[in-house]
Symmetry: C2
Subunit: 493 residues, 2 copies
């Protein structure tokens, strides 16, 4: 059927979608979510059909979303040839998984390829996530999924025999060890091309925090250049095409807050394999209030990381750390950035927990590759070598290496929360802290967040400042008070 | 946040969706598939967020799909207030089902209410279908789902103590018993308000076939009027708001061709309960080539129908019939309509199998309500009383009651398929026949289809006509030849 192209002037953010009038769909015996082949001269693409009931697209027209427009290279009002197309094989593999059958690596690769090519609709990808959630993924499937994500994305290829990488499973506010570990490792002469994420549900991701110092969005080529010069980098993974299938899968986990373990593992390890890491340290922060609450689940994940690493040919070190309270004092991009700088500059205001955890991790990583231990890491940090390396990286990433803690702007509006009695800090509510920091504006408002004056076990007296909330928007700051009325954020006994 | 309304000039066909610019979404901490409340003066609605990356909707604008536009009653360029809104409770119930927990009737009702109100996105509904498919529905859940579909839709309320209804599970070409059973029952003085579907994947649904004679789309009020006058009707269920949740659920089964039994049962029985049927006959046509292939599954469904009927307070009669070959000779709306007329007019060309199956069913139904048996049904049919009733119904449904078989137009292009050897018909491929009829144009082209000259067990001689394919489009007719080259449609041994 010949149809006239109409630009619906919208993007889908991925999937290739066209809109047909109800009448034309009937004539072609098409249903919503069926597929059509759209042909213009020798070029064609396959897209998923949405059906327009009443308006917008008239009979004889086909509405194209931006993605289809771009890929097909047509102009408004041109005629295209539209015919029914069968579903891709990957759909039958999704059905197979939903039917509790194990998928082969070829089948998983076909699914991921179609995800990257945008030929799978969101509903169909939702079924895949649902199947992985319900039936789980076997270790073979997890390996296959990791490889499929890597093979269907870009890779960072460095001319090094040893490439270190690390990952934290998240959920613990602050915890900005990466920004201290990377300069220590790089200063020790080991390559560590660190790609990090932005916050999705937290107050800040490493990419958000490092952005206080420098740019984090670079092409793969430029990142290669930075790492070849400095041994390290701290960049945003979203700016590259590394593991691009991953983002789309995670988007489908969002509506029901699903987080199937097989996908979690693949998603993490694919990003490590995409930079060709040879040695990886995973930090599983667990405990009540952390993302991974139970020690049982933390242990299971730990074992699975080891197994998966072995199958992928990556040496692993998986540590389980306390995730029940924030690491460092700042929560929010600028406040966390300032903590990092305090540690690297050996400032008296450096949060001790952040410093010690970073040394612990860096030491283990140096040990993994036979380049030292915790003492080495401490020496590199305390001697200022790590700080020098940090400045080098900032410079290469187009920032100002001479920035001082005082130069980092913090929200001008603030209020303090004080202890109402004498006692010992028993519990700190991670989730409530994150909620407050986000309502205050983090991570988009870099200056917003919380500065925490106490950690668990600290003795406090009535009237002591427990924390300060910052925002550059007074209205937003007021909204945060609501949370304090509803939740006990710091428990003193 | 105040945003300016922009009409995206498209409908979604259901779900309430708005489009935000990426920048604004970031500011509001919104992700794709999150929900927002859109407020204009005192009126507000909640909609699912799509995020537009590059074009169409600029920062400061909000794109509304038709459904939101209509419901909110705003004009282009007006300002609306947009704020983040939490997910409806129904989403957590979907998650609960995905986690293999049984849902209460309140929880199922909440899901179905949100489906009808369009506050659940397609992806979320997909997860519900997936959960029902994977974990199945308990009998209590099936009852709850049936009631939820009924209670969240329109109902047909008739002032009768006894209301009969029937349903065929489908998959057998032809099989147009409903159009013969309805006039028999109605002529016997029993009320039978029959709502039927159109073809989804078959060559014709009862609504498509009766449309050859009369209108099938009426309001609930008008249907009430028709049934009160004639005792019966044959109308399209899609034109009413009966069981409207059902269509949306079925749409989400389509991408992966899922057909969870609990949903199948609820979907059928909800339509019966929505017309307040007191007695229902279910015809499960089964066997190789039918929709329900195995006798085991047919038996299981039969038992479940009885149980479900009992819980719903509906008396059931469930029969299992041969679904391995077409019933009647015509396949396609007009050809099937002609068969029905032959039977009702006691024409010599009446297909015997269609006549006998209809008498069998009508007899059982009369017996259920103590109004006779198969002999009664035969007498009503053969005496012409059923035909008179049929004409009455046609008249009330605004058709021409005096239509003769010869008045029914059949596609002008045709070809015949002849036997290549002597022998006995061993097998007829239902699915291939449907495919041919659909390629020829059925059900949208009423005149397209197949006239079958033989049934299983018939002796044929070389050169005998086995079937004739009709279309009003010569090109489409040619396409059908392809199927004959690939599949053995009628096997002779």
């Amino acid at each position: 059927m010949k149809l006239k192209v109409k630009d619906v002037n919208l993007s889908t953010g991925g999937p290739l979608i066209v809109v047909l009038n109800k009448e034309d769909s009937s004539k072609m015996d098409l249903h919503a979510l069926d597929r059509v082949k759209i042909k213009k001269d020798e070029k064609y693409i396959v897209a998923v059909v949405n059906i327009c009931e009443n308006k917008g697209i008239r009979s004889g027209e086909i509405g194209l979303f931006e993605e289809v427009f771009d890929k097909l290279g047509v102009k408004e009002n041109e005629l295209v040839d539209v015919s029914i197309e069968k579903k891709p094989d990957s759909i039958s593999y999704i059905k197979k998984k939903l039917d509790r059958q194990e998928l082969s690596s070829e089948e998983i690769n076909a699914i991921i390829k179609d995800v990257v090519d945008n030929t799978i609709s969101e509903v169909e990808l939702g079924f895949f996530v649902s199947a992985c959630y319900t039936h789980g993924l076997s270790m073979n499937e997890t390996v296959a999924l990791t490889n499929a994500i890597v093979n269907n994305g870009a890779q960072l290829k460095l001319d090094r025999n040893i490439i270190l990488d690390k990952h934290g499973t998240g959920g613990t506010p602050g915890n900005r060890t990466t920004m201290i570990v990377v300069p220590i490792i790089a200063a020790a002469g080991v390559c560590i091309p660190k790609t990090s994420s932005r916050a999705i549900t937290s107050a800040a991701g490493t990419a958000d925090v490092f952005e206080v110092f420098a740019n984090v969005s670079f092409s793969t080529d430029k990142i290669k250049e930075i790492v070849e010069k400095t041994n390290g980098c701290i960049v945003w993974c979203g700016a590259m095409d590394l593991a691009s299938a991953d983002d789309k899968i995670i988007k489908m986990e969002h509506p029901l807050s699903l987080d199937p373990e097989g996908i979690l593992l693949s998603s993490i390890m694919a990003k490590k394999k995409a930079v060709n890491a040879t040695h990886v340290l995973i930090d599983i922060a667990y405990g009540p209030g952390a993302k991974i609450e139970s020690v049982k689940r933390a242990n299971r994940l730990r074992k699975m990381f080891y197994k998966l690493g072995k199958k992928l040919g990556i040496k692993m070190e998986v540590i389980m750390t306390d995730g029940t309270q924030p690491i460092g004092n700042g929560i929010g991009p600028s406040l966390e950035a300032r903590d990092v700088l305090y540690v690297l500059m050996n400032d008296v205001r450096a949060p001790k927990d952040l410093k010690e955890k970073s040394i612990h991790i860096a030491g283990l990583m140096l040990k993994m590759v036979g380049k030292g231990n915790q003492e080495t890491a401490r020496e590199i940090l305390e001697s200022g070598k790590a700080y020098e390396k940090f400045k080098e990286i900032i410079k290469e990433q187009e920032g100002n290496p001479d920035i001082k803690p005082e130069d980092i702007k913090i929200g001008q509006y603030s209020y303090m929360v004080k202890a109402k009695k004498n006692g010992v800090v028993k519990r700190i509510d991670n989730k409530a802290l994150v909620r407050i920091a986000r309502i205050a504006g983090a991570p988009f408002d870099k200056e917003a967040g919380i500065y925490l004056n106490v950690h668990k076990g600290d003795k406090v007296k009535e009237g002591d400042v427990l924390l300060t909330v910052y925002s550059k928007n007074s209205k937003r700051l007021n909204y945060t008070l609501d949370v304090f009325n509803k939740v006990k954020i710091i428990e003193i006994e």
